[in-house]
């Protein structure tokens, strides 16, 4: 009887433990796992950036051996095809910014400063950022899906055993295409964004087009404009790199393709924002 009583008490204690366990331990475990994964991610991203740097160095030394046909293809699908949506989004962005700014500025009678606000925000931040978001969604995920599909169908393995460097064959054309194309998209985006702000300025605040235009040209310097373009080129590197990395990391199954694409978009946006923060700080320093 006594023994059985002990056992019952023990199980009560165990029960209590079991009640407490799920609340603390899995949370800690989850945090630990997540940190480990994050750390591994950082290492992988650094590794792929190193690999890309190596491949880029090779490409610079042997420009003839760059897969130009692929590069042009990706320029076409990531650039020319993304133009309408980029222009649309940036125009709307300028419109929204213009509306919000005009509501506030009108109170102080500083209507014309809407041009400053919209112009600088679009050119310095939102133009490159919006284009980067679109390219992450379109190109980054496509790269990840494409490479992970190639991985599933053993094309990457075949490439390696054929003696080809996958980064040269797969990453460089994509990277080069995005670097060439994203600043161009950003130019379009910036112009359309400013036109969006101008629409509000002209139709809602009643500013003359030429006044708004002159004000915009006055506040935006060539330096500001090129800062935005530099930003978008850096974003291009990140989006292409992380898209390809997620593709190469993908599991060898069809589920892997989907999660690679999702992961490419999420990490792409995250990295773009981080890089934007850093660059905004750097540009404000020099």
């Amino acid at each position: 009887m006594a023994e059985e009583k002990d056992r019952i008490i023990e199980t009560e204690v165990q029960k209590q433990f079991r009640l407490h366990e799920p609340q603390i331990r899995p949370a800690i475990e989850y945090t630990g796992e997540a940190s480990l994964k994050f750390w591994k991610d950082i290492i992988n991203i650094l590794a792929i950036i190193g690999e890309i740097a190596e491949a880029s160095w090779f490409a610079i030394r042997n420009p003839r051996r760059i897969r130009w046909r692929e590069t042009l293809f990706y320029m076409d699908i990531c650039g020319a095809d993304a133009l309408p949506i980029s222009c649309m989004i940036c125009y709307l962005m300028g419109l929204i910014l213009g509306f919000q700014a005009s509501l506030q500025m009108h109170k102080f009678g500083t209507d014309l400063y809407v041009a400053d606000m919209v112009g600088l925000s679009i050119v310095k931040e939102l133009g490159p950022l919006m284009v980067a978001m679109i390219c992450t969604g379109r190109a980054g995920s496509a790269f990840a899906a494409e490479i992970s599909t190639m991985k599933v169908s053993e094309e990457i393995d075949a490439m390696v055993t054929m003696g080809f460097n996958p980064s040269r064959f797969l990453i460089i054309p994509k990277l080069l295409a995005l670097i060439l194309v994203m600043p161009v998209l950003t130019v379009f985006g910036n112009v359309l964004g400013i036109i969006g702000g101008m629409t509000v300025g002209v139709f809602s605040l009643g500013l003359p087009v030429i006044t708004y235009f002159n004000r915009t040209v006055l506040v935006i310097t060539p330096r500001t404009f090129s800062e935005g373009l530099i930003k978008s080129a850096v974003f291009a590197v990140l989006i292409a790199a992380v898209g390809c990395l997620r593709g190469l990391e993908a599991k060898n199954d069809t589920h892997g393709v989907g999660s690679a694409a999702t992961s490419a978009v999420v990490s792409g946006i995250f990295l773009v924002i981080i890089a934007d923060t850093l660059m905004t700080y750097l540009f404000s320093r020099f």
């Binding site: 692929e70 190639m150 169908s153 053993e154 094309e155 393995d157 075949a158 490439m159 390696v160 055993t161 054929m162 003696g163 080809f164 460097n165």
Partner: protein, 258 residues
């Protein structure tokens, strides 16, 4: 074996392979000689595809060494590895043709990258390989336009683009209808006889084993090692462990069903 003086094409020395910490096969030793058709068999999950990927240098073994023509592919750096890799061709399970390129471009890729041949010479060689696998005229097609068997043959043509000394086959007859599979077998023997290429084949297609293999090793999931080796006919005559016996019984069964 016979050719003691010659350097064997492939040597596996105390090879232990696996994924991460999970050991799939332990202390594997075998030698493959020039011009041999060497078949690796075993049940699902026994690690025969894994060992193939180690042999072709895609994975790094946990322990042991792999020598290809006397050179270690394990210890080689990327440039050396690339040079070794150029000496063999691999036919993957799914063909692994680059889906973005046409069949001709797939086959021409290595020639363009590694040789200084002019364009017409490359084109001539591509057509020669296509003729070899019986795919004349399929060159301008995209891989997605080909049937499974045609894809595999195209992939074989691509694997042979640089006239390699060794050809690795990962399940060459899987997902092929018996006629095409038999044709593939004939192609393998034909190529060996004509070019003297060393063939390493991973398969569980028993018909192929009997039809083409010079030598067989059988891997086992439970013991994580080679459970039988030798000529397929000898393998049957000897007193094999139960697992091998069952495997071979099934072979006999499928023979009778034919």
């Amino acid at each position: 074996m016979a050719e003691n003086n010659a350097v064997p094409m492939i040597q596996a020395i105390d090879l232990t392979v696996g994924y991460g910490d999970i050991v799939v096969l332990e202390n594997i030793n075998f030698t493959i000689n020039k011009g041999e058709i060497f078949v690796i068999i075993g049940g699902s999950g026994c690690g025969k595809s894994t060992i193939l990927k180690h042999l072709i240098g895609l994975y790094e073994p946990i322990k042991g060494d792999i020598l290809i023509k006397g050179e270690s592919i394990v210890k080689a750096d990327w440039d050396e590895k690339r040079r070794i890799m150029k000496s063999f061709g691999v036919l993957y399970q799914s063909g692994a043709l680059f889906s973005a390129l046409t069949i001709t471009e797939n086959i021409a890729l290595q020639l363009e990258e590694y040789t200084d041949y002019p364009e017409d010479e490359i084109f001539r060689r591509v057509n020669e390989k296509l003729k070899l696998v019986g795919l004349e005229g399929a060159g301008p097609k995209m891989p997605s336009e080909l049937s499974g068997g045609m894809k595999k043959r195209a992939a074989l043509a691509r694997a042979m683009a640089l006239d390699p000394e060794i050809l690795f086959f990962d399940e060459p007859s899987t997902s092929l209808d018996p006629v095409t599979a038999a044709m593939m077998d004939r192609l393998i023997i034909d190529l060996r006889d004509r070019l003297g290429t060393t063939m390493v084949i991973v398969t569980h297609d028993l018909d192929s084993i009997y039809a083409i293999s010079d030598r067989v090793i059988m891997l086992d999931k439970a013991t994580k090692t080679i459970v039988a080796r030798g000529k397929p006919s000898e393998l049957r005559k000897s007193n094999p462990p139960p697992s091998v016996k069952e495997f071979l019984e099934r072979a006999g069964l499928s023979r009778k069903m034919d």
